[in-house]
Amino acid sequence: MSGSWVRIAAGVLAAIIVAVIGVQVSGTFQGSVDEATGGNTSVANAFMLVLAIALLIGFVVYAAVEYAQTGALRSISSQFDTRTIVLMPIAIAINIVLGQTVSAALKIPVYLDSIGTILVGALAGPIPGLLTGLLANLIWTFVLAGTPLGSPYAWPFAIVAAEIGLLAGIFGRLGFFRPRPNTPTPQLVVGTVVALAVLAALAYWGILPAYTKGVTFFGDLSGVDPFFVLMAYVIAAVLVIAAIGLVVILFTRRDLGVAYVVVGGAICGVISAIISAPISAVFFGGVTGSGTDFLVAAFQQAGSSLSESVLQQGLISDPIDKTITYIVVFVLLRTLSRRFTARFPQGEQAVGLVGA
């Protein structure tokens, strides 16, 4: 067990170092947006490249450390048993079908197109999760091309989907999806405080810095269109209600697992928003054809540049979307029979042992 921690730590550290170096080398990502073409291609591409290389090197380091420790790559190959391979297409179908039909049927501005990816990550591990996300978007574009379900617009986002699956795998291994029924009250209180603190920190350092221009929460409101002031209040109110809702659920269900899932979903959402914003801005002018486009329009109108508005939109929709998705997966895993889940490579970490 401790051996695998060393590998994970080494891999994550390597990815972060490479990303930081890459960011330093390629310069800042803000400010140099080319207004005529709606995005600075070179900057955004460099950003994507840095991330891709960072992920790749992190993975190589992980594999190398494992090979050095054990002389084999068992932790990676054992994540791909037949069961996982059979689950992957079903998971991809879940992504695509729910991503297209459910969000359209329910008419809410979330995507819900990563339930399958997160399910595979949680049950089978980080690498199958990563591969499921990657394959899902590539299949969506290339294998389904020429059918009404195909989407020519999915493949540039493959790297985002890969990150979502990877993260779900890591959270799954850490037991984030495990139900924790009948948590004693003191533990519940501490857990809730910690979860709220993590969420607040995430909001303060991860989300708020993106809103310093155009839309400001605490700045001077004179000269700002009342429409946007109202919108900011609505968003703030939603966040407060969500936090209160979390506390209420935690104390009525008495299951600290909910806090883990919400924190995991929020983290995943913020990271996804940061990675997908440049892709969306460069390829599609910030428009994805879904209900979130309205937000991009609003932020642009409020004075943000295209890439800023896409990021501002993403930082609202993605955490909401991913938190809902994580909760859906959490409930699904609890509904599935233990006989089923326990047979996956990471099944026991994901749902816990009998009576535990």
């Binding site: 048993d81 037949t82 297409p89 233990r338 006989r339 326990a342 047979r343 042992l353 009998v354």
Partner: protein
Amino acid sequence: MLELHRVSYRYAGYATAVLHDIELTIADGEIVGLVGPNEAGKSTLCLVASGLAPASIGGALSGSLSIDGELMAGRPPHELAERVAIGFQNPDTQLSGVTATVFEEVALGPMNLGLPVAETLARTREALATLGIEDIAERSPNRLSGGQGQLVALASLLAMHPRHVVLDEPTAQLDPEGTRLVGEALRALAATGTALLVTEHKTDLLDGLCQRIIVIDGGRIVLDGPAGDVLADERLPGWGVEPPSRIRLARAMAGRGLDLDLIAGTLR
């Protein structure tokens, strides 16, 4: 020869065992029926006999499975696949879902073994011929009747050249026509000298097919004997097993003072 010696089995994530102290030997070319009430452990016994429990689904097995004298413990599923095959109820989920024709579906197993194309071709044709389904070789596997689907699933197993085949209620989801098709296929299979273990609710299908029948209840073997004796056993309905119609008819007749053998004699 397939031997289970002192086998007990517990599923992963569960505290109690579902099979207890199973002792079972199936000789080469022998056809054995397996009956018993629901939840008696029939499906589990099939999984254990095929080696998939624990090779694929985990869980805790005590005792041993050996095939032709070799212990199977610790072998990966693909090595077991060439020795013992297992078929299930639902034809749809047994199809791979990735092939465009029945021929490719049946060829999938030999291909997975890494066999050269000529060998795959020969095995596929042989399997289709054994079950008499050469005529649907170029049809889509998704557009078959339940009975045909089950035959394709069976052919896919035969193409692996296993000398032992375990079937878990192969006709449970089939209509009478499908049941008849599968029944004929099982007879054709038996004629090739393959050893068979068949779980089946429809005792009419076992009657005349099996040489030997085993009754299992509560995870233990409670009766093991020649097919004729077991099917005529008075305790069968008590284990939730309906005797074949031949025997029920004879009993009903006898209850009214008629001797079926006598009637058969008169008719003849």
